[in-house]
Symmetry: C3
Subunit: 268 residues, 3 copies
């Protein structure tokens, strides 16, 4: 599998697909920059006045509810339905789902109304997605999440999608096959937006429409490997500011050889 995934890095820089992102205000500049660094091209049009039309021009759609508002939610639904109608893959990042009733309700509406191809979140967010569904199905008490791999497998099966659970080890599952990506560094939790940026990167690879499972592994592992390289490059006098800069540097420098050398992936 690694060799096929590695080819996606070359392919992405060659094809430069357009990635439509309706994302949060906090990290959208970071998401645009990692999209460009990886070789794709970002566009971010959240107004319902144009979100659907813009989605039709794109090769993937990334939806992120980090700073959800009624107007951008309408834009997400409009863009998502347009993407669905044309077979454009939708990547969903349910940021903070579970924190408020509004956010949880919107997240469930997105999943049901748009059918994302890939969902990425941390263990607590992803767990909440299944918990929410389980409650409506009355089986919440039966659900026990004991690992990222287990959560990923359950989310993938529940929503018929690829699920990516970020954490110390990232888990990627299509419900049948589940992989652990053993890359990353604690520094990635000390800057804002590394989750959002991972979802953007997954969107870049998904836009190639070669293999969605591989795209999810490519995107999440790219963040992990670049994070390792950035963290190990730091001197004692450098902190999270320089780390952010080097993270973008290494994403922009990544190629198939560097990726093959850095990636640690196991099937579980």
């Amino acid at each position: 599998m690694e060799k096929e995934i590695a080819e996606l890095f070359t392919e992405l820089r060659y094809k430069k697909p357009l990635i439509h992102q309706i994302t949060n205000f906090v990290t959208m500049n970071d998401c645009a920059n990692v999209t460009l660094a990886a070789g794709a091209s970002p566009v971010m049009a959240s107004s319902p006045c144009e979100a659907g039309e813009m989605a039709m021009l794109s090769e993937a759609l990334v939806i992120n509810i980090g700073t959800l508002q009624p107007e951008s939610f309408d834009g997400m639904m409009s863009a998502g339905k347009a993407a669905n109608s044309k077979g454009i893959p939708v990547i969903f990042d349910p940021v903070g789902v579970g924190a408020t009733v509004y956010r949880t309700n919107c997240a469930m509406e997105i999943i049901k109304g748009i059918r994302p191809a890939i969902i990425r979140g941390n263990a607590s967010e992803m767990n909440r997605l299944i918990g929410g569904q389980s409650i409506t199905k009355g089986v919440d008490a039966a659900y026990v999440a004991d690992s990222n791999a287990e959560i990923a497998r359950t989310v993938a099966a529940a929503f018929n999608c690829i699920a990516v659970v970020s954490g110390k080890e990232d888990a990627v599952s299509n419900g049948k096959h589940t992989y652990l990506i053993q890359n990353g560094h604690p520094m990635l939790t000390r800057i804002t937006g590394t989750g959002c940026m991972s979802s953007a990167l997954i969107g870049c690879f998904a836009a190639l429409r070669i293999n969605l499972l591989h795209s999810a592994v490519a995107g999440i592992s790219l963040m992990g490997i670049a994070g390792e390289l950035a963290a190990t490059s730091l001197s004692d006098q450098e902190g999270t500011g320089t780390f952010r800069v080097r993270l973008l540097d290494f994403i922009s420098l990544m190629n198939k050889e560097m990726w093959l050398e850095g990636v640690r992936i196991i099937e579980v």
Copy 2:
């Protein structure tokens, strides 16, 4: 006092409180990153659909009107009232108050409706807050602000809060005791958001709910000391881009020893 304040730096990294920030679109990424760098955790939910609920989950609320809109104003009021009801400290940054009628009216509504625990602004903004109140009391002509310390003392007394006036020397007052923090560097005025970031940092320390006056001093002095360290680290070929990076670096590296070595504080 310095020794007690220094302990807050250790405490913050240990407790990692959640800081809800309804802030402006220009500097929100910077505010999120300094919050993480200082050891706390940011969340930014401005929609009235969830702002109040999110505030209830947080340990401090920072309100910043840099890019005020009717919808985010409703979110601020909703979050502020929720915070008040639970005794969660509110930090208010009246960015640009006085520039437009809308902004001034909203700022006064926030102060009256929410009762911020801490208000931070530059001399002209803070002065305008008292001027505005003085006008409604018919005593505007009698008001003369001759120093940051005087403005801080007057704002603190007028609104029964801690007041922080940023400038060449930052003044912090609770109306009874007033301190000058003699840290900082002119480079801090050559990048956007250092005021907003200072308010975010004050929010981080206030979230510990140990001593609000100490929290205000800790937050504003952290920005000043990190600014000095960042500026003095620059070579001739480095400008405001590198300064921004190093500023975040030094905030993330700060600890009680570095702070005690760097801080210059006097009571006036």
Copy 3:
């Protein structure tokens, strides 16, 4: 001409004009930082509740439709009309015009309702502006754009403005005189916002109200020269993250001597 333009760099740092920017959410932090780096002062108030009043306080207005929404569009129209009424120059950046019907309609409404003094876009955006107008005039088929210089000349003549077409070589025209600025570097296309930042910089120089054609050349060439300096400073281990930092560094370090040494401009 070069000597007169070079003086604008000194003048800008001396006068520090206030630049009102109603711009997109993705790159607004970058735009604020380049505005400060060049020596001016940014303010960004997009709500129709205050956008017009804020424009009256400013010395230039920059309008950018990168993340257009009905509310910010109303703010743009309100600010633009206020600026027109006081003779404050308006710089318009028609980001992505042509991509959606909504964006195209709004762009044409801005051009007709506000009469920008300067319009800056890439070749495809600027071409679309004339194509759009040509369609309404029924002469679309007759239009052929063969170079940036030709597009700039046509846009300038069509809208009675200064037109700046960004690209490998940037073209600046007032309809009578047309210049090519042969600065820049491919790395400028690998980070987000260099177009938006160029428009912001043009706004800074336009705020001096000395010579609009010179202001356009100053702003666009500043981005190109800083991009060259930033790109050539990179080591093999540095990528787009470090490039972004150095770009801001060199904008903040630029002075008339550096500009005169770096600029390559020809009349065509």
